[in-house]
Protein backbone atom coordinates (compact mmCIF):
# COMPACT_ATOMS: atom_id res chain seq x y z
CA UNK A 1 0.00 0.00 0.00
CA UNK A 2 1.03 3.57 -0.74
CA UNK A 3 1.69 5.70 2.29
CA UNK A 4 -0.18 8.97 1.76
CA UNK A 5 0.69 10.48 5.12
CA UNK A 6 3.81 9.94 7.19
CA UNK A 7 4.21 11.48 10.60
CA UNK A 8 7.55 11.28 12.35
CA UNK A 9 8.15 12.18 16.00
CA UNK A 10 5.60 14.96 15.92
CA UNK A 11 5.55 17.10 19.05
CA UNK A 12 3.63 20.21 20.07
CA UNK A 13 4.42 22.29 23.11
CA UNK A 14 2.28 25.09 24.43
CA UNK A 15 3.94 27.32 27.02
CA UNK A 16 5.32 24.67 29.33
CA UNK A 17 2.71 22.07 28.41
CA UNK A 18 3.24 19.29 25.88
CA UNK A 19 -0.06 18.55 24.13
CA UNK A 20 1.35 16.06 21.58
CA UNK A 21 4.41 14.00 22.45
CA UNK A 22 6.58 12.30 19.88
CA UNK A 23 3.81 10.81 17.77
CA UNK A 24 4.71 8.74 14.70
CA UNK A 25 2.38 6.94 12.32
CA UNK A 26 1.62 6.26 8.66
CA UNK A 27 -1.68 6.30 6.85
CA UNK A 28 -2.32 4.20 3.74
CA UNK A 29 -3.83 5.69 0.61
CA UNK A 30 -7.61 5.26 0.65
CA UNK A 31 -7.62 4.16 4.27
CA UNK A 32 -9.92 5.09 7.10
CA UNK A 33 -7.66 5.97 10.00
CA UNK A 34 -9.10 6.92 13.37
CA UNK A 35 -7.53 8.60 16.33
CA UNK A 36 -9.34 7.61 19.48
CA UNK A 37 -8.74 9.22 22.82
CA UNK A 38 -10.39 10.92 25.79
CA UNK A 39 -11.18 14.63 25.83
CA UNK A 40 -8.11 16.83 26.08
CA UNK A 41 -5.59 14.17 25.01
CA UNK A 42 -4.34 16.26 22.08
CA UNK A 43 -6.40 14.97 19.14
CA UNK A 44 -7.44 18.36 17.80
CA UNK A 45 -3.91 19.70 18.28
CA UNK A 46 -2.55 16.84 16.18
CA UNK A 47 -5.11 17.43 13.45
CA UNK A 48 -4.43 21.17 13.39
CA UNK A 49 -0.74 20.46 12.85
CA UNK A 50 -1.53 18.21 9.89
CA UNK A 51 -3.83 20.85 8.37
CA UNK A 52 -1.25 23.57 9.01
CA UNK A 53 -3.15 25.83 11.39
CA UNK A 54 -0.51 25.43 14.05
CA UNK A 55 3.19 24.95 13.71
CA UNK A 56 4.73 21.77 15.11
CA UNK A 57 7.40 22.19 17.81
CA UNK A 58 9.27 19.16 16.53
CA UNK A 59 9.06 16.28 14.08
CA UNK A 60 7.94 16.05 10.46
CA UNK A 61 4.75 15.70 8.45
CA UNK A 62 4.98 14.26 4.93
CA UNK A 63 2.02 14.14 2.55
CA UNK A 64 2.69 12.00 -0.52
CA UNK A 65 6.34 12.15 0.47
CA UNK A 66 6.44 15.93 0.55
CA UNK A 67 7.56 17.71 3.73
CA UNK A 68 4.80 20.08 4.87
CA UNK A 69 6.85 22.40 7.07
CA UNK A 70 6.09 26.04 6.32
CA UNK A 71 3.28 25.30 3.87
CA UNK A 72 0.16 27.31 4.84
CA UNK A 73 -3.25 25.58 5.28
CA UNK A 74 -4.68 26.87 2.01
CA UNK A 75 -1.82 25.24 0.09
CA UNK A 76 -1.99 21.80 1.72
CA UNK A 77 -3.80 18.97 -0.09
CA UNK A 78 -5.93 18.30 2.96
CA UNK A 79 -9.33 19.57 4.02
CA UNK A 80 -10.84 19.58 7.44
CA UNK A 81 -14.34 19.12 8.81
CA UNK A 82 -14.34 21.14 11.99
CA UNK A 83 -15.59 20.02 15.39
CA UNK A 84 -18.00 22.97 15.23
CA UNK A 85 -18.68 22.39 11.46
CA UNK A 86 -17.95 26.09 10.77
CA UNK A 87 -20.54 26.45 8.01
CA UNK A 88 -20.73 30.00 6.65
CA UNK A 89 -24.01 31.30 8.10
CA UNK A 90 -24.49 34.08 5.55
CA UNK A 91 -24.41 31.65 2.62
CA UNK A 92 -26.88 29.03 1.48
CA UNK A 93 -26.05 25.35 1.03
CA UNK A 94 -24.90 25.75 -2.56
CA UNK A 95 -22.69 28.75 -1.79
CA UNK A 96 -21.12 26.94 1.12
CA UNK A 97 -20.19 23.93 -1.00
CA UNK A 98 -19.05 26.12 -3.91
CA UNK A 99 -16.86 28.35 -1.75
CA UNK A 100 -13.63 26.39 -2.20
CA UNK A 101 -14.20 25.77 -5.92
CA UNK A 102 -14.72 29.48 -6.53
CA UNK A 103 -11.32 30.15 -4.99
CA UNK A 104 -9.83 27.88 -7.67
CA UNK A 105 -11.32 30.15 -10.33
CA UNK A 106 -13.14 27.31 -12.10
CA UNK A 107 -15.78 28.01 -14.73
CA UNK A 108 -19.25 28.59 -13.34
CA UNK A 109 -20.74 25.61 -15.19
CA UNK A 110 -18.00 23.37 -13.86
CA UNK A 111 -18.57 24.57 -10.30
CA UNK A 112 -22.31 24.00 -10.69
CA UNK A 113 -21.77 20.45 -11.92
CA UNK A 114 -19.37 19.55 -9.13
CA UNK A 115 -21.60 21.04 -6.45
CA UNK A 116 -24.74 19.27 -7.69
CA UNK A 117 -22.84 16.01 -7.95
CA UNK A 118 -21.49 16.29 -4.43
CA UNK A 119 -24.85 17.32 -2.97
CA UNK A 120 -26.41 14.27 -4.63
CA UNK A 121 -23.78 12.05 -3.06
CA UNK A 122 -24.63 13.26 0.41
CA UNK A 123 -28.39 13.11 -0.36
CA UNK A 124 -28.96 16.84 -0.25
CA UNK A 125 -30.44 17.43 -3.71
CA UNK A 126 -33.06 20.14 -3.60
CA UNK A 127 -31.48 21.86 -0.61
CA UNK A 128 -29.25 24.16 -2.68
CA UNK A 129 -31.11 27.36 -1.87
CA UNK A 130 -31.71 26.62 1.80
CA UNK A 131 -29.93 28.65 4.42
CA UNK A 132 -27.58 26.54 6.49
CA UNK A 133 -29.24 27.87 9.63
CA UNK A 134 -32.48 26.24 8.51
CA UNK A 135 -31.05 22.73 8.30
CA UNK A 136 -31.24 19.88 10.80
CA UNK A 137 -28.12 18.68 12.60
CA UNK A 138 -27.58 15.75 10.25
CA UNK A 139 -28.07 17.91 7.17
CA UNK A 140 -25.61 20.51 8.43
CA UNK A 141 -23.19 17.68 9.02
CA UNK A 142 -23.52 16.56 5.43
CA UNK A 143 -23.05 20.08 4.08
CA UNK A 144 -19.80 20.38 6.03
CA UNK A 145 -18.57 17.06 4.66
CA UNK A 146 -19.66 17.92 1.11
CA UNK A 147 -17.93 21.30 1.32
CA UNK A 148 -14.64 19.62 2.11
CA UNK A 149 -15.01 16.59 -0.17
CA UNK A 150 -15.85 18.67 -3.24
CA UNK A 151 -12.27 19.95 -3.06
CA UNK A 152 -11.06 16.40 -3.80
CA UNK A 153 -8.49 16.48 -1.01
CA UNK A 154 -5.76 13.86 -0.75
CA UNK A 155 -6.76 13.51 2.87
CA UNK A 156 -9.96 14.51 4.62
CA UNK A 157 -9.53 15.32 8.30
CA UNK A 158 -12.64 15.00 10.45
CA UNK A 159 -12.65 16.36 13.99
CA UNK A 160 -15.41 14.59 15.95
CA UNK A 161 -17.91 15.45 13.22
CA UNK A 162 -20.72 13.46 14.80
CA UNK A 163 -20.21 14.86 18.27
CA UNK A 164 -23.16 17.23 18.19
CA UNK A 165 -25.71 14.72 16.88
CA UNK A 166 -28.13 12.66 18.91
CA UNK A 167 -27.47 8.95 19.36
CA UNK A 168 -29.82 7.66 16.72
CA UNK A 169 -28.56 10.01 14.02
CA UNK A 170 -24.98 9.29 15.04
CA UNK A 171 -25.51 5.57 14.46
CA UNK A 172 -26.98 6.34 11.06
CA UNK A 173 -24.29 8.82 9.99
CA UNK A 174 -21.58 6.39 11.11
CA UNK A 175 -22.64 3.92 8.47
CA UNK A 176 -23.24 6.60 5.84
CA UNK A 177 -19.81 8.08 6.36
CA UNK A 178 -18.13 4.71 6.03
CA UNK A 179 -20.01 4.00 2.78
CA UNK A 180 -19.17 7.44 1.40
CA UNK A 181 -15.50 6.91 2.15
CA UNK A 182 -15.52 3.50 0.44
CA UNK A 183 -17.28 4.92 -2.59
CA UNK A 184 -14.99 7.93 -3.06
CA UNK A 185 -11.78 6.23 -2.01
CA UNK A 186 -10.62 9.38 -0.21
CA UNK A 187 -8.28 8.88 2.73
CA UNK A 188 -10.05 9.78 5.96
CA UNK A 189 -8.42 10.68 9.25
CA UNK A 190 -11.15 10.63 11.81
CA UNK A 191 -10.93 11.93 15.34
CA UNK A 192 -13.27 10.73 18.03
CA UNK A 193 -13.57 9.96 21.70
CA UNK A 194 -16.30 7.41 20.95
CA UNK A 195 -14.76 3.96 20.70
CA UNK A 196 -17.70 2.50 18.85
CA UNK A 197 -17.34 5.10 16.05
CA UNK A 198 -13.66 4.27 15.75
CA UNK A 199 -14.12 0.51 15.78
CA UNK A 200 -17.04 0.40 13.34
CA UNK A 201 -15.64 2.71 10.66
CA UNK A 202 -11.88 2.37 10.66
CA UNK A 203 -9.29 0.22 8.96
CA UNK A 204 -6.76 1.31 11.56
CA UNK A 205 -7.19 2.98 14.91
CA UNK A 206 -4.62 4.83 16.98
CA UNK A 207 -5.43 5.11 20.67
CA UNK A 208 -4.16 8.35 22.12
CA UNK A 209 -3.65 9.22 25.76
CA UNK A 210 -2.05 12.33 27.28
CA UNK A 211 -0.44 13.36 24.00
CA UNK A 212 1.01 9.94 23.16
CA UNK A 213 -0.08 7.06 20.96
CA UNK A 214 -0.56 3.94 23.05
CA UNK A 215 -1.32 1.55 20.21
CA UNK A 216 -1.95 1.62 16.46
CA UNK A 217 -3.81 -1.41 15.22
CA UNK A 218 -6.83 -2.81 13.42
CA UNK A 219 -10.07 -2.50 15.38
CA UNK A 220 -10.15 -6.28 15.91
CA UNK A 221 -6.62 -6.46 17.31
CA UNK A 222 -7.17 -3.42 19.44
CA UNK A 223 -10.11 -5.13 21.03
CA UNK A 224 -8.59 -8.60 21.33
CA UNK A 225 -5.03 -7.68 22.24
CA UNK A 226 -4.83 -4.28 23.90
CA UNK A 227 -1.16 -3.36 24.19
CA UNK A 228 -1.45 -1.31 27.36
CA UNK A 229 -3.66 -1.07 30.41
CA UNK A 230 -5.04 2.23 29.10
CA UNK A 231 -6.15 0.66 25.81
CA UNK A 232 -7.69 -2.31 27.63
CA UNK A 233 -9.67 0.07 29.81
CA UNK A 234 -10.62 2.58 27.12
CA UNK A 235 -11.57 0.33 24.22
CA UNK A 236 -14.61 -1.77 24.93
CA UNK A 237 -15.94 -2.81 28.29
CA UNK A 238 -13.73 -4.56 30.82
CA UNK A 239 -13.59 -5.70 34.41
CA UNK A 240 -10.59 -4.03 36.03
CA UNK A 241 -8.96 -5.78 38.98
CA UNK A 242 -5.86 -4.55 40.74
CA UNK A 243 -3.27 -7.19 41.48
CA UNK A 244 -1.40 -7.80 44.70
CA UNK A 245 1.11 -10.50 43.90
CA UNK A 246 2.37 -13.11 41.47
CA UNK A 247 3.44 -16.56 42.59
CA UNK A 248 4.67 -18.83 39.82
CA UNK A 249 1.72 -19.45 37.49
CA UNK A 250 -0.74 -17.78 39.85
CA UNK A 251 -1.76 -14.18 40.29
CA UNK A 252 -3.71 -12.75 43.22
CA UNK A 253 -5.94 -9.69 43.13
CA UNK A 254 -6.22 -7.10 45.91
CA UNK A 255 -9.45 -8.82 47.01
CA UNK A 256 -7.51 -12.07 47.39
CA UNK A 257 -8.85 -13.82 44.31
CA UNK A 258 -6.23 -16.34 43.15
CA UNK A 259 -6.24 -17.18 39.45
CA UNK A 260 -4.06 -19.40 37.32
CA UNK A 261 -2.35 -17.36 34.59
CA UNK A 262 0.76 -19.04 33.19
CA UNK A 263 3.18 -17.45 30.73
CA UNK A 264 3.83 -14.12 32.42
CA UNK A 265 7.47 -13.01 32.50
CA UNK A 266 6.84 -9.87 34.55
CA UNK A 267 4.96 -8.96 37.72
CA UNK A 268 1.67 -7.44 36.59
CA UNK A 269 -0.15 -4.73 38.47
CA UNK A 270 -3.58 -4.84 36.95
CA UNK A 271 -5.86 -7.40 35.32
CA UNK A 272 -8.52 -6.72 32.68
CA UNK A 273 -11.23 -9.25 31.79
CA UNK A 274 -13.89 -8.63 29.11
CA UNK A 275 -17.43 -9.54 30.21
CA UNK A 276 -17.75 -11.92 27.26
CA UNK A 277 -14.50 -13.73 28.16
CA UNK A 278 -16.25 -15.63 30.93
CA UNK A 279 -17.40 -19.12 29.96
CA UNK A 280 -20.41 -20.22 32.01
CA UNK A 281 -20.30 -23.87 33.16
CA UNK A 282 -17.31 -24.80 30.99
CA UNK A 283 -16.99 -28.41 29.83
CA UNK A 284 -14.85 -30.61 32.14
CA UNK A 285 -12.32 -31.42 29.43
CA UNK A 286 -11.63 -27.78 28.47
CA UNK A 287 -7.91 -27.00 28.83
CA UNK A 288 -6.02 -23.78 29.41
CA UNK A 289 -8.72 -22.17 31.47
CA UNK A 290 -8.84 -20.76 34.94
CA UNK A 291 -11.84 -22.14 36.79
CA UNK A 292 -13.80 -20.65 39.72
CA UNK A 293 -17.26 -20.25 41.12
CA UNK A 294 -19.46 -17.13 41.19
CA UNK A 295 -22.71 -16.26 42.88
CA UNK A 296 -25.19 -14.22 40.82
CA UNK A 297 -25.89 -10.84 42.45
CA UNK A 298 -28.18 -9.15 39.92
CA UNK A 299 -29.22 -9.64 36.34
CA UNK A 300 -28.89 -6.54 34.18
CA UNK A 301 -31.30 -7.23 31.36
CA UNK A 302 -30.53 -5.31 28.15
CA UNK A 303 -31.78 -7.51 25.29
CA UNK A 304 -28.89 -8.98 23.39
CA UNK A 305 -26.48 -7.21 25.67
CA UNK A 306 -27.70 -8.72 28.95
CA UNK A 307 -25.12 -9.07 31.71
CA UNK A 308 -24.99 -10.33 35.24
CA UNK A 309 -23.16 -8.83 38.17
CA UNK A 310 -21.63 -11.70 40.11
CA UNK A 311 -19.49 -12.24 43.21
CA UNK A 312 -16.51 -14.57 43.04
CA UNK A 313 -17.01 -17.08 45.86
CA UNK A 314 -13.50 -17.36 47.34
CA UNK A 315 -12.68 -13.63 47.47
CA UNK A 316 -15.88 -11.64 47.13
CA UNK A 317 -14.53 -9.81 44.05
CA UNK A 318 -17.31 -8.40 41.91
CA UNK A 319 -17.33 -8.95 38.13
CA UNK A 320 -19.63 -8.27 35.17
CA UNK A 321 -20.32 -11.28 32.99
CA UNK A 322 -22.06 -11.30 29.59
CA UNK A 323 -24.84 -13.82 29.19
CA UNK A 324 -24.51 -15.91 26.00
CA UNK A 325 -27.17 -15.53 23.32
CA UNK A 326 -28.99 -18.78 23.93
CA UNK A 327 -31.81 -20.09 26.04
CA UNK A 328 -29.54 -22.15 28.27
CA UNK A 329 -29.11 -19.48 30.92
CA UNK A 330 -32.57 -17.96 30.72
CA UNK A 331 -33.53 -19.45 34.05
CA UNK A 332 -30.53 -18.03 35.84
CA UNK A 333 -31.66 -16.10 38.89
CA UNK A 334 -30.22 -14.07 41.71
CA UNK A 335 -28.44 -16.14 44.34
CA UNK A 336 -27.57 -19.02 41.97
CA UNK A 337 -24.04 -20.34 42.09
CA UNK A 338 -22.40 -21.05 38.72
CA UNK A 339 -19.06 -22.50 37.68
CA UNK A 340 -17.16 -20.13 35.38
CA UNK A 341 -13.96 -20.37 33.36
CA UNK A 342 -11.69 -17.95 31.51
CA UNK A 343 -9.08 -18.75 28.89
CA UNK A 344 -5.61 -17.87 30.12
CA UNK A 345 -5.06 -15.58 27.16
CA UNK A 346 -8.18 -13.61 28.02
CA UNK A 347 -6.74 -12.68 31.39
CA UNK A 348 -5.06 -9.47 30.24
CA UNK A 349 -2.31 -8.50 32.63
CA UNK A 350 -0.32 -5.25 32.59
Amino acid sequence: MNKILEIKNLTKEFKGFTAVKNVSFNVDEGGFFSILGPSGCGKTTLLRMISGFIQESGGEIFIRGKLMRGIPPEKRPVNIVFQSLALFPMMNVRENVAFGLKRQKLKKSEIDDKVSDMLARVSLQGFEKKKVTELSGGQRQRVAIARSLVMKPSILLLDEPLGALDRKLREHMKIELKLLQKELGTTFIYITHDQSEALVMSDKVAVMNKGRFEQIDTPRNLYKNPATAFVAGFVGESNRLELKSKDGDFITTKDGWKLKRPGLDFTPEVLYIRPEAFILTPAKNLDNISRFEVKIKTILFDGSNTKVAAIESSSGAEVLISLPQNARFENLKEGDTVEVGINYENLKCY
Binding site: F82, F88, F99, G100, R103, S148
Partner: protein, 287 residues
Protein backbone atom coordinates in the same frame (compact mmCIF):
# COMPACT_ATOMS: atom_id res chain seq x y z
CA UNK B 1 -57.63 32.08 25.69
CA UNK B 2 -57.54 33.48 29.22
CA UNK B 3 -53.85 32.97 29.34
CA UNK B 4 -53.39 34.91 26.19
CA UNK B 5 -55.47 37.79 27.48
CA UNK B 6 -53.49 37.87 30.73
CA UNK B 7 -50.32 38.07 28.72
CA UNK B 8 -51.71 40.98 26.74
CA UNK B 9 -52.53 43.04 29.81
CA UNK B 10 -49.08 42.50 31.29
CA UNK B 11 -47.59 43.38 27.95
CA UNK B 12 -49.46 46.68 27.78
CA UNK B 13 -48.63 47.49 31.39
CA UNK B 14 -44.99 46.95 30.68
CA UNK B 15 -44.99 48.99 27.54
CA UNK B 16 -47.00 51.88 29.05
CA UNK B 17 -44.03 53.76 30.61
CA UNK B 18 -42.16 53.49 27.33
CA UNK B 19 -45.11 54.81 25.38
CA UNK B 20 -45.67 57.68 27.82
CA UNK B 21 -42.02 58.60 27.66
CA UNK B 22 -42.09 58.55 23.88
CA UNK B 23 -45.27 60.61 23.64
CA UNK B 24 -44.54 63.26 26.25
CA UNK B 25 -40.87 63.80 25.55
CA UNK B 26 -40.56 63.09 21.87
CA UNK B 27 -43.84 63.07 19.97
CA UNK B 28 -45.52 66.13 21.56
CA UNK B 29 -42.64 68.61 21.12
CA UNK B 30 -42.15 67.40 17.58
CA UNK B 31 -45.84 67.74 16.89
CA UNK B 32 -45.64 71.33 18.02
CA UNK B 33 -42.72 71.94 15.69
CA UNK B 34 -44.50 70.13 12.88
CA UNK B 35 -47.49 72.43 13.24
CA UNK B 36 -45.38 75.57 13.27
CA UNK B 37 -43.50 74.40 10.17
CA UNK B 38 -46.80 74.58 8.26
CA UNK B 39 -47.97 77.82 9.84
CA UNK B 40 -47.70 81.23 8.23
CA UNK B 41 -49.00 84.65 9.14
CA UNK B 42 -52.04 85.73 7.17
CA UNK B 43 -52.50 89.37 6.14
CA UNK B 44 -54.98 89.78 8.93
CA UNK B 45 -52.33 88.70 11.42
CA UNK B 46 -53.84 85.23 12.06
CA UNK B 47 -52.31 81.81 11.50
CA UNK B 48 -52.84 80.04 8.17
CA UNK B 49 -51.65 76.81 6.63
CA UNK B 50 -48.71 77.30 4.25
CA UNK B 51 -45.93 75.42 2.48
CA UNK B 52 -43.75 78.48 2.12
CA UNK B 53 -41.23 77.39 4.78
CA UNK B 54 -40.58 74.19 2.92
CA UNK B 55 -40.51 76.00 -0.43
CA UNK B 56 -37.84 78.34 0.96
CA UNK B 57 -35.46 75.44 1.26
CA UNK B 58 -35.72 74.50 -2.40
CA UNK B 59 -35.90 78.03 -3.72
CA UNK B 60 -32.80 79.34 -2.06
CA UNK B 61 -29.65 77.78 -3.45
CA UNK B 62 -27.58 78.34 -0.31
CA UNK B 63 -29.96 76.18 1.73
CA UNK B 64 -29.95 73.07 -0.33
CA UNK B 65 -26.27 73.41 -1.23
CA UNK B 66 -25.55 73.50 2.49
CA UNK B 67 -27.65 70.42 2.91
CA UNK B 68 -25.84 68.56 0.13
CA UNK B 69 -22.51 69.59 1.63
CA UNK B 70 -23.60 68.38 5.07
CA UNK B 71 -24.93 65.07 3.76
CA UNK B 72 -21.78 64.47 1.70
CA UNK B 73 -19.60 65.08 4.72
CA UNK B 74 -21.79 62.87 6.89
CA UNK B 75 -21.54 60.03 4.37
CA UNK B 76 -17.80 60.52 4.05
CA UNK B 77 -17.27 60.59 7.81
CA UNK B 78 -19.41 57.45 8.21
CA UNK B 79 -17.22 55.63 5.70
CA UNK B 80 -14.08 56.99 7.34
CA UNK B 81 -15.34 55.90 10.74
CA UNK B 82 -15.81 52.39 9.36
CA UNK B 83 -12.34 52.31 7.82
CA UNK B 84 -10.70 53.59 10.98
CA UNK B 85 -12.62 51.50 13.51
CA UNK B 86 -12.96 48.14 11.79
CA UNK B 87 -9.31 47.15 12.30
CA UNK B 88 -9.58 48.32 15.91
CA UNK B 89 -12.71 46.25 16.49
CA UNK B 90 -11.13 43.25 14.80
CA UNK B 91 -7.97 43.61 16.86
CA UNK B 92 -9.85 43.93 20.13
CA UNK B 93 -12.14 40.97 19.52
CA UNK B 94 -10.04 38.53 17.52
CA UNK B 95 -6.35 39.23 18.00
CA UNK B 96 -5.56 40.06 21.61
CA UNK B 97 -6.58 38.06 24.64
CA UNK B 98 -9.93 38.67 26.29
CA UNK B 99 -8.61 40.18 29.49
CA UNK B 100 -6.81 43.07 27.77
CA UNK B 101 -9.63 43.49 25.29
CA UNK B 102 -12.22 44.54 27.88
CA UNK B 103 -9.79 47.02 29.43
CA UNK B 104 -8.95 48.57 26.06
CA UNK B 105 -12.62 48.69 25.12
CA UNK B 106 -13.20 50.65 28.31
CA UNK B 107 -10.52 53.13 27.25
CA UNK B 108 -12.46 53.66 24.04
CA UNK B 109 -15.32 54.99 26.14
CA UNK B 110 -13.28 57.87 27.60
CA UNK B 111 -14.37 60.48 25.00
CA UNK B 112 -17.93 59.67 26.03
CA UNK B 113 -17.22 60.31 29.71
CA UNK B 114 -15.77 63.77 29.21
CA UNK B 115 -18.49 64.94 26.83
CA UNK B 116 -18.48 66.39 23.36
CA UNK B 117 -17.61 69.97 24.27
CA UNK B 118 -14.48 68.97 26.17
CA UNK B 119 -13.28 66.70 23.36
CA UNK B 120 -13.84 69.46 20.85
CA UNK B 121 -11.79 71.90 22.91
CA UNK B 122 -9.19 69.20 23.20
CA UNK B 123 -8.90 69.13 19.44
CA UNK B 124 -8.57 72.92 19.38
CA UNK B 125 -5.51 72.59 21.62
CA UNK B 126 -4.04 69.97 19.34
CA UNK B 127 -4.80 71.57 15.97
CA UNK B 128 -4.51 75.29 16.71
CA UNK B 129 -1.83 77.64 15.32
CA UNK B 130 0.01 77.33 18.61
CA UNK B 131 -1.27 73.83 19.17
CA UNK B 132 0.68 70.68 19.82
CA UNK B 133 1.16 69.66 16.20
CA UNK B 134 2.23 73.04 14.88
CA UNK B 135 4.57 73.69 17.80
CA UNK B 136 6.19 70.34 17.26
CA UNK B 137 6.62 70.80 13.51
CA UNK B 138 8.00 74.30 14.08
CA UNK B 139 10.44 73.14 16.71
CA UNK B 140 11.94 70.47 14.50
CA UNK B 141 12.10 72.99 11.69
CA UNK B 142 9.93 71.14 9.21
CA UNK B 143 7.79 74.25 8.69
CA UNK B 144 8.51 77.91 9.35
CA UNK B 145 4.99 79.16 9.88
CA UNK B 146 2.00 77.34 11.42
CA UNK B 147 -0.24 75.32 9.10
CA UNK B 148 -3.88 76.36 9.15
CA UNK B 149 -5.67 73.35 10.50
CA UNK B 150 -8.16 74.73 12.96
CA UNK B 151 -11.40 76.29 11.65
CA UNK B 152 -11.22 74.29 8.43
CA UNK B 153 -13.22 71.39 7.05
CA UNK B 154 -10.26 69.24 8.02
CA UNK B 155 -10.51 70.02 11.73
CA UNK B 156 -14.28 69.66 11.57
CA UNK B 157 -13.95 66.22 9.99
CA UNK B 158 -11.42 65.13 12.60
CA UNK B 159 -13.67 66.30 15.43
CA UNK B 160 -16.80 64.68 14.04
CA UNK B 161 -14.95 61.48 13.33
CA UNK B 162 -13.57 61.40 16.83
CA UNK B 163 -16.87 61.86 18.62
CA UNK B 164 -18.78 59.41 16.43
CA UNK B 165 -16.18 56.64 16.08
CA UNK B 166 -17.21 54.96 19.28
CA UNK B 167 -20.72 54.39 17.98
CA UNK B 168 -19.25 52.50 15.06
CA UNK B 169 -16.81 50.42 17.05
CA UNK B 170 -19.24 49.04 19.62
CA UNK B 171 -21.81 47.40 17.28
CA UNK B 172 -19.03 46.03 15.07
CA UNK B 173 -17.30 44.55 18.09
CA UNK B 174 -20.46 42.89 19.24
CA UNK B 175 -21.02 41.14 15.90
CA UNK B 176 -17.36 40.18 15.59
CA UNK B 177 -17.42 38.68 19.06
CA UNK B 178 -19.96 36.13 17.87
CA UNK B 179 -17.84 35.25 14.83
CA UNK B 180 -16.48 31.75 15.40
CA UNK B 181 -12.74 31.66 14.65
CA UNK B 182 -13.16 28.31 12.95
CA UNK B 183 -15.13 30.11 10.20
CA UNK B 184 -11.98 31.98 9.29
CA UNK B 185 -9.95 28.78 9.49
CA UNK B 186 -12.48 26.89 7.38
CA UNK B 187 -12.27 29.55 4.68
CA UNK B 188 -8.50 29.43 4.65
CA UNK B 189 -8.62 25.63 4.61
CA UNK B 190 -10.76 25.86 1.47
CA UNK B 191 -8.07 27.93 -0.22
CA UNK B 192 -9.22 31.49 0.47
CA UNK B 193 -6.60 34.23 0.65
CA UNK B 194 -6.52 36.74 3.50
CA UNK B 195 -8.28 39.29 1.29
CA UNK B 196 -11.02 36.84 0.29
CA UNK B 197 -11.56 35.87 3.92
CA UNK B 198 -11.92 39.54 4.77
CA UNK B 199 -14.34 40.40 1.95
CA UNK B 200 -16.33 37.16 1.76
CA UNK B 201 -16.50 36.04 5.38
CA UNK B 202 -15.64 38.73 7.90
CA UNK B 203 -17.33 41.72 6.27
CA UNK B 204 -20.58 39.90 5.34
CA UNK B 205 -20.70 38.40 8.81
CA UNK B 206 -20.33 41.76 10.52
CA UNK B 207 -22.67 43.55 8.12
CA UNK B 208 -25.49 43.93 10.69
CA UNK B 209 -23.07 45.63 13.07
CA UNK B 210 -21.58 47.80 10.34
CA UNK B 211 -25.05 48.87 9.23
CA UNK B 212 -26.30 49.78 12.66
CA UNK B 213 -23.02 51.56 13.42
CA UNK B 214 -23.29 53.35 10.10
CA UNK B 215 -26.83 54.53 10.76
CA UNK B 216 -25.93 55.86 14.21
CA UNK B 217 -22.79 57.62 13.02
CA UNK B 218 -24.51 59.14 10.01
CA UNK B 219 -27.42 60.46 12.07
CA UNK B 220 -25.13 61.70 14.80
CA UNK B 221 -22.87 63.55 12.37
CA UNK B 222 -25.57 65.04 10.17
CA UNK B 223 -27.39 66.35 13.24
CA UNK B 224 -24.32 67.53 15.14
CA UNK B 225 -23.91 71.21 15.90
CA UNK B 226 -21.02 71.62 18.32
CA UNK B 227 -18.13 70.26 16.27
CA UNK B 228 -19.00 72.06 12.98
CA UNK B 229 -19.65 75.29 14.83
CA UNK B 230 -16.50 75.33 16.93
CA UNK B 231 -13.99 73.40 14.85
CA UNK B 232 -15.38 74.23 11.42
CA UNK B 233 -15.27 77.97 11.89
CA UNK B 234 -16.89 80.53 9.64
CA UNK B 235 -16.36 78.68 6.41
CA UNK B 236 -18.23 75.54 7.41
CA UNK B 237 -21.53 75.00 5.63
CA UNK B 238 -23.40 72.83 8.08
CA UNK B 239 -27.15 72.44 7.91
CA UNK B 240 -27.73 72.44 11.68
CA UNK B 241 -26.06 75.86 11.81
CA UNK B 242 -28.60 77.00 9.24
CA UNK B 243 -31.42 75.75 11.47
CA UNK B 244 -29.84 77.41 14.48
CA UNK B 245 -29.73 80.70 12.61
CA UNK B 246 -33.39 80.45 11.64
CA UNK B 247 -34.40 79.96 15.25
CA UNK B 248 -32.05 82.24 17.09
CA UNK B 249 -30.70 84.81 14.65
CA UNK B 250 -33.62 85.54 12.35
CA UNK B 251 -36.30 84.21 14.71
CA UNK B 252 -38.02 82.51 11.81
CA UNK B 253 -39.40 79.59 13.81
CA UNK B 254 -41.56 78.32 10.99
CA UNK B 255 -38.65 78.00 8.62
CA UNK B 256 -36.42 76.56 11.34
CA UNK B 257 -39.00 73.90 12.12
CA UNK B 258 -39.48 73.09 8.45
CA UNK B 259 -35.72 72.72 7.98
CA UNK B 260 -35.55 70.46 11.01
CA UNK B 261 -38.14 68.17 9.48
CA UNK B 262 -36.46 68.26 6.12
CA UNK B 263 -33.22 67.19 7.79
CA UNK B 264 -35.02 64.30 9.47
CA UNK B 265 -36.83 63.20 6.33
CA UNK B 266 -33.97 63.51 3.88
CA UNK B 267 -31.44 61.84 6.14
CA UNK B 268 -33.89 59.00 6.84
CA UNK B 269 -34.38 58.63 3.08
CA UNK B 270 -30.63 58.46 2.56
CA UNK B 271 -30.43 55.64 5.11
CA UNK B 272 -33.37 53.87 3.52
CA UNK B 273 -31.70 54.15 0.12
CA UNK B 274 -28.38 52.90 1.48
CA UNK B 275 -30.10 49.87 3.04
CA UNK B 276 -31.87 49.15 -0.24
CA UNK B 277 -28.68 49.45 -2.27
CA UNK B 278 -26.72 47.09 -0.01
CA UNK B 279 -29.63 44.63 0.28
CA UNK B 280 -29.89 45.00 4.05
CA UNK B 281 -33.04 44.72 6.10
CA UNK B 282 -33.66 46.96 9.07
CA UNK B 283 -34.99 44.09 11.19
CA UNK B 284 -31.71 42.25 10.93
CA UNK B 285 -29.67 45.24 11.96
CA UNK B 286 -29.14 45.41 15.67
CA UNK B 287 -29.46 41.68 16.16
Amino acid sequence: MENKKGFNITFYLLILPVLLWLIVLIVLPHLDLLISSFQGDSDAGGKVFTLEHYMAFFQSKIYWLTFINTAAYAIGITILAFIVTFPVAFYLTKVISKKYASFLALLLLIPLWVGELVTVYGWMIILGDHGVINEFLLSIGLIDKPIDMLYTNFSMTIGLLYISMLFMVVPIMSTLESLDDSLIEAASDLGASKWTIFTKIIIPYSMPGITSGGIIVFMLVIGDYVAPDILGGKSSLWFTEQIYNEFLSTFNWGEGAAFGFLLLMISSSIIWLALKLTGQKLERVGS
